[in-house]
């Protein structure tokens, strides 16, 4: 065969096979175009109308980002109903992509609360994997408020207050005693890499390439390549950085202060829902200003961690499981219905409407 014919055949086969592989990856759920992207205003966020398929040891979920860019029913920014609107903010536990939407705590919470209040409720889930308290606040200011919620639930764990940022998003700074958004993350090398991969991430295959690059970029390559032969390097005993905790405390307390002011001056009611016991310094702060908080972890104490976090499919501990999503959804509905019933403001107004 002529060399040119061979080259053409080679190229055509590669292209045809890549096309088949792309369809295969998307249909089989091995790899889809990325359902998250780095938004210049709020950082990591969901891609509107993108398919989601999560298949891992800690969950299996098939879903779709709605046309407004969050996961859940299509509730637009404009409110056309008298329904009580509740926005949720939190990390991957709140995003809830380990279970199907019908089993997710946010869906169960909405159904149960509607039943308990005998009034329509709309729950908008703005949770996203890796978000922390500062990220939640950014999302609240830059995104959630536009949806006019009656209640905003900041669902936190201990690490939400103490963790360094794990996803690209604006950071917060205190300037002249007020909170300022810092967009340095857009200039970071990591962000540059992500932007370079943006087109690739629009393909299932490209997303695999991006993830493989991330393995290399984050230094996980030796562990994956060497498998059982990999020896974990000894970690230096780094002293806990007190500066970090102090800095986080300053920022977090400023956020609490800002949310508290909004509770007084706006139609929103912001609540903090604690999934885990938070450091005493924070509970003292919240109590000192009488910030509305619900200690959900106390209601969940009757369950063992293995009831709530154990995955039967893989036999490992991880995110909440199907059972836990139901428990959390129902428990939260109990707590919030009590809170709303005793709250003099919005619920009564909403009922009148």
């Amino acid at each position: 065969m002529l060399p040119l014919k061979n080259i053409v055949l080679f190229v055509v086969t590669i292209l045809a096979l890549l096309l088949y592989i792309e369809i295969y990856l998307r249909w089989s759920g091995v790899s889809n175009p990325s359902y998250v992207y780095d938004n210049d205003i709020v950082g990591r966020t969901h891609n509107k109308d993108y398919n989601i398929i999560i298949t891992g040891a800690e969950g299996f979920c098939i879903d779709k980002v709605n046309k407004y860019g969050y996961v859940g029913p299509d509730y637009p920014k404009e409110r056309n109903t008298s329904a009580i609107r509740i926005a949720l903010l939190g990390s991957s536990y709140i995003e809830g992509l380990q279970v199907f939407r019908r089993n997710r705590f946010s869906t169960i919470f909405e159904q149960e609360l509607t039943k308990k209040l005998n009034h329509p409720v709309e729950v908008l889930n703005f949770g996203i994997g890796g978000d922390d308290f500062r990220g939640m606040y950014t999302r609240y200011q830059k995104l959630v408020k536009a949806y006019n919620p009656d209640y905003v639930l900041f669902i936190i764990q201990g690490e939400s207050l103490l963790r360094r940022k794990t996803i690209p998003s604006p950071d917060l700074m205190i300037e002249n005693d007020s909170l300022v958004f810092n967009y340095d993350f857009l200039k970071s090398s990591e962000s540059g890499v992500r932007h370079r991969f943006r087109l690739l991430r629009e393909f299932g295959l490209g997303n695999l390439v991006k993830e493989a690059f991330e393995v290399y970029y984050t230094g996980r390559l030796p562990k994956i390549v060497l498998d059982n032969f990999y020896i974990e390097p000894e970690k230096n005993n780094v002293k806990k950085n007190n500066n970090d905790s102090t800095k986080f405390y300053e920022l977090n307390s400023k956020i609490v202060e800002s949310l508290f002011k909004e509770n007084k001056n706006s139609r929103f009611t912001n609540l903090i829902i604690e999934m885990e016991e938070i450091p005493t310094i924070y509970s003292t702060l919240l109590d000192s200003i009488n910030f509305p908080r619900i200690l959900l972890y106390q209601d969940l104490k009757q369950y063992k961690p293995e009831d709530l976090n154990f995955w039967r499919a893989s036999g490992i501990m991880g995110h909440w499981n199907n059972f836990a999503h139901r428990v959390v959804g129902e428990t939260l509905a109990d707590e919030i219905s009590t809170f709303i019933s005793t709250d003099s403001g919005h619920f009564k107004t909403a009922k009148k409407d």
């Binding site: 086969t13 089989s28 199907f100 390549v225 498998d227 032969f229 039967r312």
Partner: protein, 475 residues
Amino acid sequence: MQFFSIIFIILIVVSVAIYYLAPTKYRNIILLLYNYLFYSTFDYRMTVLLFSLTSINFLIGNKLQSAKNDKVKYYFVVAALVVNLTALWFFKYFNFFIDSLNDFAVILGLEIHLSTLNILLPLGISYYIFQTLTYIFDHYYETIKEKYTFLEYAAFASFFPTIVSGPIERASKLLPQIKQERKFVSSNIEEGFALITIGMFRKLIIADACGVLVDHVFAEPNYFLSGEVLIAIFLYAFQIYNDFAGYSSIARGVAKLFGFNIIENFKQPFFADSIADFWRRWHISLSFWMRDYLFYPMQFKFRSLGKWGNILAVMILFIVIGIWHNPSWSFVMWGFLQGLYISFSILTLNLRNSFIKSIKLSGKLLIGTRILITFLLTVFALFVERTHGIQDVYVMLSIIFDWSWSEIAVRFLLILLSTLSATLIIDLLEIKFKSEAFLMKFIPPVKYAVSIVIWLIIILYMLTAQKLPFIYAQF
């Protein structure tokens, strides 16, 4: 060390290079070294049992070979069976036996609480014991004439490409290959590479894609709806087929790299037009082993019972095959179902033939119908085997018969279609080229293009995705 790890691929390349660079006379020593090193990467303690059984079987086999008297030969076979099956029973079945005894006592209203033992299940024990037993049987039936050294026998008994999940090779086929001089042949490398490529694709890209979904649905079926559960059941059939066929291809490919020909373990089983045909295409090395060393002797023993003797032998055979896989009631039920299918087909052969004649079903339509029925029966049996017991079977069937459909089920359907398409393409290519290593029969530009794209996907997947263990490695 799993076949689908990157380190395995790297080590195989290095190992093959060392193997062929070494003088021919040292190759069996190197092979034996590789066998034990590979096996010890899972758990070095397990090599003690492997070496002990190898030594005992070698001793008994040689005594058997030199024995003149048939009765003495028979006693040696019995001795080998006792040693090997006791080891297998203790390591694999003891706890199942105790649990079943406790359950049975409860049913009878007795109060016995025998405790189980914390036994480490040696990896691949069912495979290597069956493989080493062929050395005894082949001596008994005199299909081996030649004498083999301990080194050759030990290399056979611990042959690393097949030790974890088969194929179960016969001593009469593999030992002569170990004895003979193996030279570097480039076509062996090419064929080995082609087999490994297809095997990896089957395992990582097809089987694992279904596997995570299947695991979740079978673990908590109550959280899924009718259409989703039904599709997950079909997906499991494709998962286990591609998982095991993938493993077998990789094992055959690795063996080929070192110059060995290993029995083909799968021949497009979902194209079988009867259950009997299915067993000539599925896990061939085990079904032929069982046929030759268990079914034929039983059939001979029960010959006086006529057709019912055959049925008895079939039922025992398949229940044993079920238990061989896994000591659990799900596998007993799976084996029982397979036996039932074949017994039914024996008993209704004339009736079915006259029915087919009466409805004038013939040609491709008849074959298609037979293939479809066989496939559905197989899927049902595999579904029973995958559950944790009859309770789960009932729960999942109840969900299916709710006939609820969801938008998500359409996405499940796409997963099934993609799995089906990939499986079908590979199976049809195997049929067209009459080889599992069909890749090497493509014209060069196509061959290189396909290899590049498949390996690109395999490597990306190896780096990024959660890999599931081989299903058959747990047996």
